[in-house]
Symmetry: C2
Subunit: 250 residues, 2 copies
């Protein structure tokens, strides 16, 4: 066990992370040799904000919304991504926030966008939204349509691009897991929401995370019960697939 | 998983996971995380129970103590291990429980051992306990000594071996992260608790997870603030190191 090193090493830590940042600024496009990790982790340094619904929320503490704190990140894919990024790349330059809220649809993100996203000044903004925009038309008398979803989503990203012109966007495909208890034939109409999200991701130059394909392929290995019992909310195994897909895509 | 978890799809699931295994053998690189290779995950199939204090607890739901459910596993190292094991090895044969409770010392594990451990019939039992056995002598007027810790820990494992003769034991080294806000010179005495845990692990033929070394080595990369701000409770990065050390050891 080391003792009393903090005061002296703190400076070294800051110095070395400052030099890492300087190196990154000098060589912004430099790719990291695949022998390190096979992933370009350098371009996710900075402030990362995750936005979305219950899948993103995953039981995070709302009373204590801190960056890089386990209870504030929740027990879903965001917590897994944060742990892996922070654990593998201790640069001291990563600040990861979870601002997902259960039940939310696009218009509800818009209502809290300024304080919950823009004010955090993200370098990377990851959004996963859409399942409730459809689901709540079946179960909550919500009257929004896919046109409303697409229009509101575009407006949200217009606002984002204006307020944060440099932000890197990551858009996750809203998905369902066939065979889950909440999924029935009516969900065929959900494909239109996925198509809208895909169009938007392309037009707004976002990195696209193809979660539907991830779960479709996973069904070859185990049934929906294993990946997301209700077809919407992932199990630990489902969250792991999401986290790996996110990390692979960036 | 021993019974009835996958009611209707059980047969399909077993069949498809067999073909997935065959496919994995044919196409070893395909969409399987690289971290899977080189590890024998098969020998941790069955029921895994994690026991311990707040580090293990990590905000898990006590109202809803289910296996393989994110909120029941918490946002600490157990959640990370569960997600990775379940995500990488969808055999359907793994059932992972978290039964850590914040603040607990060895004698408190003993008080709830029957219902919270033995009754779950674990195949693998992972225990991390000891930091409060010392810490609470500094902060909570607890009067236990290292001799009490070692005696109670042995008694707990004697009970365990009698009730569960086949269980595979995994014992985590209780640890502190030097430079954390709760750590001062008095913690030099904590080394005796770590020594007791190491002796016990050896004598009871447990797999030992050397968490102290893990965190000591991590301090070369970033200070305690990064791995465990108070020196006791890990950050997401600290939890990630713990999870990887656990997975590497088994």
């Amino acid at each position: 066990m080391k003792s009393g090193f903090l005061p002296s090493n703190r400076r070294d830590f800051l110095r070395s992370s400052a030099s890492a940042a300087a190196l990154g600024a000098l060589l912004p496009g430099m790719s990291i040799p695949s022998s390190i990790s096979g992933r370009r982790r350098s371009d996710v340094d900075g402030v990362i904000v995750f936005q979305g619904d219950s899948i993103t929320d995953a039981g995070r503490s709302k009373d204590d919304q801190q960056a890089n704190v386990p209870r504030s990140l929740g027990s879903g894919y965001v917590g897994l991504i944060a742990a892996q990024l922070l654990g593998e790349s201790p640069s001291g330059e990563l600040e990861i926030h979870n601002r997902g809220i259960s039940g939310h649809k696009v218009f509800q993100l818009a209502e809290r966008w300024q304080e919950d996203t823009v004010d955090l000044r993200p370098d990377v903004l990851s959004i996963l939204i859409g399942v409730n925009d459809f689901w709540h038309t079946l179960s909550h008398n919500y009257e929004g349509t896919v046109e409303v979803y697409e229009r509101d989503y575009r407006a949200l990203l217009d606002t984002t691009r204006e307020a944060l012109p440099e932000v890197r966007l990551i858009i996750g495909e809203p998905f369902i897991v066939a065979g889950g208890t909440a999924i029935d034939d009516r969900w065929e109409a959900f494909g239109a929401y996925q198509g809208a999200a895909a169009r938007i991701a392309k037009e707004y130059d976002a990195t696209w995370i193809p979660y539907q394909r991830v779960f479709d392929e996973a069904l070859d290995k185990a049934p929906a019960t294993y990946w997301a019992p209700d077809g919407v909310h992932p199990s630990p195994a489902g969250n792991y697939l999401m986290a790996q897909a996110w990390l692979d895509a960036i």
